[in-house]
């Protein structure tokens, strides 16, 4: 098995290295990926979609952060189904691990009450978390809401918000995190995120445009023209993405760390 693996790895690696010699140099602004394909004489034979994104996004959407604009508008379908993949991953973990039946034999000893006064070992950790977690959550909301203007957006902010709940679960115990963020709440939040995203697409369809063609939403959004409607809808779908990512990140941690019982964490 090891020899077979070594041969396969070496063959794959040498083929890839052989291919590398045809690749454009590092940092080449005129490479096909950056500036579009060129014929052998150097004539451009097709417009690069990246060039279009860089030069036209400002005019068409008024969004400074090109990554957000491409993510939520031009490649809206892709992002929607990436969110669905995350949702499906959460559901798969639920289906694989979650123990719904109360089984007396698999339960360990009852969870130690770490909030009691006697537990001095966790005072420093607990106080630090009390101070840090609100700041982390506030910052993650800023990352979501400010994704148009600075690096950030739904995925990053959602992961940070989920991580703040995971921090609570690690520092205290899973039970105290679950009292704030119950299973019913995070499952609902995951569904609501997807529905928000799909809802923006469907609204555009009801207004007789293509699915996820946000420009037409200026009809129902107050005080917007076609350009700003795209910008505002991007914020909307990013919030949907953030909901789903937050919920599923916490669901993955909660199920994995408690072996699907959602009682006692690590």
């Amino acid at each position: 098995m090891k020899w077979f693996a070594l041969i396969a790895v070496v063959i794959t690696g040498s083929l890839l290295i052989y291919g590398v010699s045809d690749f454009p140099d590092w940092g080449d602004a005129q490479s096909p990926a950056n500036a579009g394909a060129k014929s052998s004489t150097g004539e451009p034979i097709g417009e690069s979609v990246s060039q279009f994104y860089i030069t036209e996004t400002g005019r068409l959407t008024h969004v400074p952060n090109l990554v957000t604009a491409v993510l939520a508008d031009y490649r809206g379908y892709d992002t929607m189904f990436e969110t669905v993949v995350i949702f499906a991953a959460g559901m798969a973990i639920f289906a694989i691990l979650r123990v719904l039946r109360e089984d007396k034999h698999t339960l360990g000893p009852p969870a130690k009450d770490t909030t009691a006064d006697g537990d001095h070992g966790r005072i420093i950790v607990g106080t630090t978390c009390k101070i840090l977690i609100p700041v982390i959550q506030l910052f993650s909301l800023y990352v979501v809401a400010h994704g148009h203007y600075s690096p950030g957006g739904g995925f990053q902010g959602g992961v940070m918000l989920g991580a703040s709940f995971i921090l609570l679960a690690v520092a205290k115990d899973l039970g105290s995190a679950l009292t704030w963020f119950t299973e019913k709440r995070f499952m609902t939040l995951a569904c609501v995120g997807i529905l928000i995203y799909a809802g923006f697409g469907l609204m555009a369809q009801f207004l007789q445009r293509h699915f996820l063609d946000y420009g037409v939403l200026h009809v129902i959004l107050p005080k917007t023209d076609e350009v700003m409607a795209r910008s505002h809808s991007m914020l909307g779908v990013e919030i949907g993405v953030a909901f789903t990512v937050t919920a599923i990140m916490f669901a993955i941690y909660a199920n994995l760390s408690s072996r699907g019982e959602l009682k006692r964490g690590l």
Binding site: G13, L16, F23, A33, I54, T55, R59, V67, A89, I93
Partner: protein, 147 residues
Amino acid sequence: MKEFFETSIEPHFNYWVYVILMMIGLWAVIAKNNLIKKLIGMSIFQTAIILFYVSVGVKKGSGIPIIPKAKEAAAGAGEHGAAGAVNPDLFANPLPHVLMLTAIVVGVSTLGVALAVAQQLFKDFGTLEEDEILEQIKTADKASPDG
């Protein structure tokens, strides 16, 4: 040797790094016996692909793909009647960033599913070594040939 380094390794060093990382990941996925080590190999493989994509979008001398004052730049383009107000060479290629942004989060979720399956396997077989699991399945098959 020096000439070889300057002509084929130095301008392509990002591709060399990604190929090496990819080989490490592939080796771990194929050759390692422990399922968790296989998953670590899968993550290294994924990291190699992410590195490849992001390094393809690099332009020398460009900044992050955020256009300051996008509205004003767009208005300037409208006045002069051309879309040339934004110079594409000054901004990194946003497309690989977008693709990898979603790939990272999806990678984390799929890794979570893989870990859940591994946890369930450990619950059933008491081990995460591939050959031991296969042996247990074989002996279970021999014990009940009709099943």
